[in-house]
Symmetry: C2
Subunit: 268 residues, 2 copies
Amino acid sequence: MATGRTHRPATRSRGIPEATVARLPLYLRALTALSERSVPTVSSEELAAAAGVNSAKLRKDFSYLGSYGTRGVGYDVEYLVYQISRELGLTQDWPVVIVGIGNLGAALAGYGGFASRGFRVAALIDADPAMTGKPVAGIPVQHSDDLEKIISEDGVSIGVIATPAGVAQQVCDRLVAAGVTSILNFAPTVLSVPDGVDVRKVDLSIELQILAFHEQRKAGEETSTEEGPDTGAEPEAATAVVPPAPRGAAGDTGHKGPDGDVPAVMPA
Amino acid sequence: MATGRTHRPATRSRGIPEATVARLPLYLRALTALSERSVPTVSSEELAAAAGVNSAKLRKDFSYLGSYGTRGVGYDVEYLVYQISRELGLTQDWPVVIVGIGNLGAALAGYGGFASRGFRVAALIDADPAMTGKPVAGIPVQHSDDLEKIISEDGVSIGVIATPAGVAQQVCDRLVAAGVTSILNFAPTVLSVPDGVDVRKVDLSIELQILAFHEQRKAGEETSTEEGPDTGAEPEAATAVVPPAPRGAAGDTGHKGPDGDVPAVMPA
DNA sequence: TGTTGTGAACCATTTCACAGCC
DNA sequence: GGCTGTGAAATGGTTCACAACA
């Protein structure tokens, strides 16, 4: 084992587990709701219910942040909101750019949940000249020629890609070259980025496929292995057989964007 | 909690791990791309690279499905496409309804990745009478009064919720009552559903918050605990102190939908 | 008394490393 | 020789259960 390569050093110093980080926004949302109702304190049990997790997990999660509760009482809502916000880095302003202003990009531009959490849409970028200057969600679309300038001038470090899959990698490369170090990718494609750049991926059709898997299981629940019982099919059969019908060989995948009709962003 | 509750019985019979199920769509996409390029076989190494995972994981994943490869050669692309599609339940038609046709709902309605994988948008539903009959992505919007009828007539078992958070639970209840057993939720709220109903959640702002967390870590990388070193703040300080500035107490959370301006779906 | 914070046990997932087979 | 399939080890995450404490 070459040992040296530690994909990421587990978030330096007092490292918070990835799974915990992923739940902090959930807690934050529940806490903000309590805060608006002027609830002063909350127990791990109540807060866990509101966030949809179990209370032992919540307490363990909070224990990574510090000892912010009071035994016998619970947690101070306002104080926790602040601590979690700070831990997530939401006490500062994060300018983001959205590239690819099709249906999805437009929906993202107008999404209220961004602004309210310290994310500021610094620019909307699209390759279609016809879009340039047109306001979407109150923000004028800029042409992708100016991508580099926009990023460096505004100090943008987070980029959202909502282009068709075919151009997503090129857009990604340009974003990274211009200084972006975190990318939220809606295009159904695997992006490769240099070390030190984070990519998170949201794929709408993957979620549906996972649901379909479970749905199928439910359907076959009573009737046991109702229809496809070729479980232990012999290995030789497997290699020799030609699939009955590859199903939708002329499908999409890899060529269509996340949006059917979104205009493409052309690389420089 | 009366002990007995086994959230879900780990997918009956020869159970495929959840983590594996979540990756099958990834493999499927990569394989479909290869299939379109008429590549006949692929090694675990190549396919893993295309899907963005490591090859040991991929082989382990496939081993849960069966022995579909050939040692010394690799996997037959067409055959694997078929097997994974079947496992995911994509060889059958899944009618879905989308409730809440704001920006996001419209984007989802037009999303190419659904139709190409066996998902058929059976209906678009919105509570705004002004929307009724208006075609979105070629499909006329129907009024939410007819929700129950649409679901039962079309045999819909998968519902997508893209309404504001405030009405998501009510919409969810109606969907479930009408027979939907899988829900993809875009509203930033925790849905409660009876046993036997699956919910998956996509939250756009959560992903950004996770990125912000890592981004913040990067920024403070050189300068050690640059700015917020109150790690071991005394417990008494914690309970006594009032947070310096709760930041955005007048924010959103819980009241705004996933779309800034999406019309609300009113429950019947 | 009621609730947090946390070791310890448990479980799921990933990775290693190599036998088995083409 | 090359690549799959898989036990076994390692890692990471969750849950239990209870001591500490306001």
